[in-house]
């Protein structure tokens, strides 16, 4: 059984219907550690040793967050800057994360169609995630395609429920080894696969 760490980042959780529903669907699932960064570090004072220990103890790292300005909320960037140390996560001796998986579970305001070269956002999600993908690569990790809830302002209750269930099923399948990360890696986005 694989162990999954969900790094959750939302500065205003109460306001987010989508993120709350997604979070609620995986919190407490066996083998899943749910880690709310804004709750743990309200002052951004990240406990690096603790974070590295958590990473070591898990096989799949899931970053769950809203897609702010084509990137993550600030605390996740802070987390990357501090936790992924040279000599630990990357570099000649940095092998701590090797062969683990990294993926993003995100919500965006724009529709799926807006994320293409002819759309409003001009790039695909996968393209916009390039810095993060490269970060994972540098750490020797397998970067999985993101799971994205698009058009978050318009998602109806039923649709939201389906997204949440899909998210949970995805994590359970990864945990139990029913999905092979290597086979998923090439896809644009995981919601399409399921």
């Amino acid at each position: 059984m694989k162990r999954i760490l969900v790094l959750f980042a939302h500065p205003r959780l109460r306001r987010s219907r989508i993120q709350r529903a997604l979070a609620d669907s995986v919190r407490g699932v066996e083998g899943v550690t749910f880690h709310d960064l804004y709750e743990a570090y309200p002052d951004f004072h990240i406990d690096v040793a603790h974070e590295q220990k958590l990473l070591t103890e898990h096989d799949i790292i899931v970053c769950q967050h809203p897609f702010y300005w084509y990137s993550t909320p600030a605390i996740l960037k802070q987390w990357e800057d501090l936790v992924l140390e040279h000599g630990w996560a990357y570099g000649k001796d940095g092998t701590a994360l090797r062969d683990k998986c990294w993926m993003h579970v995100m919500s965006t305001g724009g529709s799926a169609e807006a994320y293409c070269c002819s759309g409003q956002n001009r790039y695909t999600i996968r393209q916009l995630l390039a810095p993060l993908e490269q970060t994972a690569m540098l750490c020797g990790m397998t970067f999985l395609p993101p799971l994205v809830v698009h058009s978050s302002f318009r998602v109806g209750d039923l649709e939201l429920h389906n997204h949440a269930r899909q998210y949970r099923t995805l994590l359970e399948s990864l945990r139990d080894g029913r999905l092979d990360p290597a086979e998923l890696a090439a896809a644009e986005c995981l919601n399409l696969e399921l």
Binding site: P11, R12, L13, R14, R15, Y38, E39, A40, Y41, P42, D43, Y68, G109, G110, S151, F153, R154
Partner: protein
């Protein structure tokens, strides 16, 4: 007594107390002196409102002393009492025997017969538990070492009354005089006339009953009473317990006060301790008040008036002799100079037991009636002197002693180029100092508390004894080369003075100052302190932040709320300082303060609404959502 006369009497007592005690407190004299003066005023010799009944009232009011000892007992856990056994026997024994011997010697030198001198000496060794404990407690000195030592000595004196009652008749000058019973209150002793071993058995039985009963009988009873939920029943039971114990002790010829003290100690660890305390406290206070009034009323001003110089000399002599012995005992037990003086002042009066012992001595023939009544007046008046003595100690002696302490020469400060200067290294300053130290920022530290300085030095910290308000010391501490001046002293006035001095003489220094509260902060703004920290603001906000979090507000939001609050409040200190100085607490200040509060509420209202309903903020997406929906509508 008829109801009318009883009501009239009660009215006079209460009126006297209500009028004089607040006045006395206002004048800084403490309530005991107020009661005594009230008593003297309404007594037979001044206004004459109360006459011989004073004596009856006194017997009744002595119950206040009994109750006080019960409450003192409640405060003392047996463990603490056991720890006190040394001081009680050692200091108490030395005090009683020493005072007895010194006064007896003086009496003998004054040509009184030896036995009379010894009897008077032993009796006058007693001090007033009621006055000493009440006054010390009122001044908050009970927990000091002088307070503890006083308590130990008083405890020993209460114990010593019992053998004294037995010894006094032996000092009778005419052999074969009728030996009266121990006349305490009007209790007839059961033990009287029994052979010695039976008396001893009875005594042990009574003590065992109190200890055993307290442990195995009283607690279930209280539990049962508590279950009835009737508050007055609990009070009644508590009174019943104290009265019963007093009666029991008296009936076997022991001190009632001692008995109830023991009962208190036994119950000190019970779950009813606090309830008993709060139930009995008002009774104790009132009864003690009546007791002091009765003492004041019983002072025989006729006798005093007939030989005023003589009586005054005797009072002064007794207080001086007792004071010297007490002072010697205290110094010998290792108390420091001010504490020893305090104890000498607090215990130098004659005690309430003296009255009992005088009457026993007189009827037993140990003291002639004239001497006994003169000494009674001396003792009663000496009680009135104690609060005055303590006042003198507090207002005149202590400041001098402290000044002498403060005359310690400031330490020589070695030349250094420390960038930071810290004034005051108490509970506030030393945290700042340690934070700097672990970050390798050197600070020169000045503190005025010599004990603190010596103690922290022993812990390896570098600090110097000295007054930061002295310009020469600031110079030698390197103020002209430093960058920061951190002001963390307790004394509000002094801190303002220091800011002025530093601003004037070392304008290059950045001043970070600790303020005790808002008004103090205003004063600092005016004097130009650069950064002002109200000493409890930070920890209050920490606590508030945690409270928000525990009430379900996410940690990050609670953190930001506290930050926002702090920023606003600190800005408001700067804004409000001018208003404060212009209008003091006039309407303009109040209005400005109200505006600030309203503005703060408005500032936070947005957040509060977010919790309830959506609204705009960078992370929130209401406008974004509307726009998105609009776009969609257009398509």
């Amino acid at each position: 007594m008829h109801l009318e006369t009883f009501l009239a009497q009660a009215f006079i007592y209460l009126l006297a107390a209500v009028v004089s005690v607040p006045v006395a407190k206002r004048l800084g004299m403490g309530s005991v002196l107020g009661y005594l003066i009230a008593g003297a005023l309404i007594g037979p010799f001044v206004l004459g409102f109360i006459g011989k009944e004073g004596q009856d009232v006194m017997h009744f009011a002595e119950f206040g002393v009994v109750m006080m000892l019960f409450l003192v007992g409640l405060e003392l856990q047996p463990k603490l009492l056991w720890r006190l056994r040394g001081p009680v026997m050692g200091m108490g024994g030395a005090q009683v025997l020493g005072t007895g011997a010194v006064i007896a010697l003086v009496g003998w030198l004054m040509q009184y017969p030896g036995k009379q001198a010894i009897a008077a000496g032993l009796i006058l060794a007693m001090s007033s538990t009621a006055i000493a404990l009440q006054t010390l407690a009122e001044k908050g000195l009970m927990k000091t070492s002088a307070g503890q030592a006083s308590f130990a000595i008083l405890l020993f004196q209460d114990l010593a009354v019992i053998p004294l009652l037995a010894v006094l008749p032996l000092l009778s000058s005419h052999v074969g005089a009728a030996v009266p019973h121990a006349e305490h209150g009007s209790g007839h002793s059961l033990a009287e006339g029994l052979p010695g071993w039976q008396q001893a058995l009875l005594t042990f039985g009574a003590v065992a009953l109190i200890v055993g009963g307290g442990r195995y009988l009283i607690r279930p009873i209280f539990r049962y009473i508590a279950r009835t939920q009737l508050r007055e029943m609990f009070t009644a039971t508590a009174l019943l317990l104290v009265m019963g114990t007093a009666l029991l002790m008296q009936s076997v010829g022991l001190s009632a006060a001692l008995g109830t003290f023991l009962a208190g100690v036994v119950l000190a660890e019970s779950e009813f301790r606090h309830e008993l305390e709060s139930d009995l406290e008002p009774f104790k206070g009132l009864l003690l008040g009546i007791f002091f009034i009765a003492v004041g009323a019983s002072i025989d001003f006729g006798l005093v008036g007939s030989q005023p110089m003589d009586i005054a000399l005797w009072i002064a002599g007794m207080i001086l002799l007792k004071g010297i012995v007490l002072f010697a005992v205290a110094r010998f037990s290792g108390l420091c100079l001010p504490e020893s003086l305090l104890m000498a002042c607090a215990l130098s009066q004659g005690g309430e037991f003296c009255f009992v012992l005088f009457s026993v001595a007189q009827s037993g023939g140990a003291l002639p009636p004239e001497l006994s009544s003169k000494l009674t007046a001396v003792v009663a008046l000496s009680m009135a002197v104690t609060p005055i003595l303590l006042l003198i100690y507090e207002k005149m002696l202590l400041p001098r002693l402290q000044k002498r302490e403060n005359e310690r020469e400031p330490d020589a400060i070695p030349e250094s180029d420390n960038p930071v200067l810290i004034a005051g290294y108490g509970r506030f300053g030393h945290i700042v100092g340690r934070l700097l130290a672990v970050n390798r920022i050197n600070a020169t530290v000045l503190d005025l508390d010599s004990e603190q300085v010596d103690f922290l030095r022993r812990m390896g910290m570098k600090l110097f004894y000295g007054d930061a308000s002295r310009l020469d010391l600031l110079h030698s501490a390197g103020a002209s080369r430093a960058k920061l001046f951190i002001l963390a002293i307790d004394d509000e006035e002094k801190s303002l003075k220091i800011i002025e001095t530093v601003r004037h003489n070392f304008p290059h220094l950045t001043i970070l100052a600790r303020a005790s509260g808002r008004i103090h902060a205003y004063e600092m703004v005016r004097r130009g302190a650069h950064y002002i920290y109200r000493e409890t603001l930070g920890s209050s906000l920490d606590l508030g932040k945690e409270a928000l979090r525990l009430m379900g507000i996410p940690a990050h939001e609670a953190h930001r709320a506290a930050k926002k609050f702090r920023e606003f409040d600190e800005r408001s200190i700067r804004n409000m300082a001018d208003v404060w100085f212009e209008h003091k607490d006039g309407d303009a200040y109040v209005n400005a303060a109200r505006d600030q509060i309203a503005e703060m509420e408005k500032l936070f209202a947005v957040d509060a609404e977010v919790r309830e309903s959506p609204s705009d903020e960078a992370w929130d997406t209401e406008s974004l959502r509307n726009e998105a929906l609009e776009e969609e509508g257009k398509q």
